[in-house]
Symmetry: C2
Subunit: 109 residues, 2 copies
């Protein structure tokens, strides 16, 4: 018990859920917003900007990387993070599909 039963859902449902989960934390939303605002940024910028420990920021970056929505380029001792445009657009598309495919909503009963 206590484990999500992924086997009873479709690949699409599981994938969308994983994507949403990766985005479903205020720190990760803030990280994405900051990366986009600055076009790119290094881990330490986020530590100062958000006021979370370096280990915590690094962990959140890892989760965002896990769905591919950001990528990091090594530049000396820094790692420069930016959004992966292709994945970003795909996520946008997946969410739109979910909301647009289901348009004819009527009120209840």
């Amino acid at each position: 018990m206590g484990v999500t039963k992924t086997e009873i859902f479709t690949a699409q449902q599981n994938h969308l859920a994983l994507t949403l989960k990766a985005l479903a934390h205020p720190a990760r939303i803030a990280i994405l917003q900051h990366i986009i605002k600055q076009n790119a940024c290094i881990c330490n910028d986020l530590v100062e900007e958000l006021g979370l420990a370096q280990a915590t920021i690094s962990q959140h970056l890892k989760e965002l990387k896990s769905i591919g929505i950001i990528k990091g380029n090594i530049e000396g001792t820094n790692v420069c993070y930016c959004v992966d445009e292709t994945v970003w657009q795909q996520v946008k598309k997946d969410l739109n599909s979910f909301f647009i495919d289901n348009v004819n909503i009527e009120e209840c009963c």
Copy 2:
């Protein structure tokens, strides 16, 4: 430790994160899709459709209700669930804002 530090984020960031979290489970995505497909449905339909225990479905419905995206009308011993159109549109708008306000994405470094 181990608790999300909501106080260091904006209300908008926290709200979007909560919304995404409520949607970030395959069962809840499946529930929403089924409700929309059937226009409305009762809890027991979902139990049979998804193959999760009645208590589990009820809990997932509660989480969806917590962000207001679904509402339930009591009809005898049944509760008829459907999407709250206003909230649905608002969620759609919030997500669009997040993705559309951040359009000029460039590749990294």
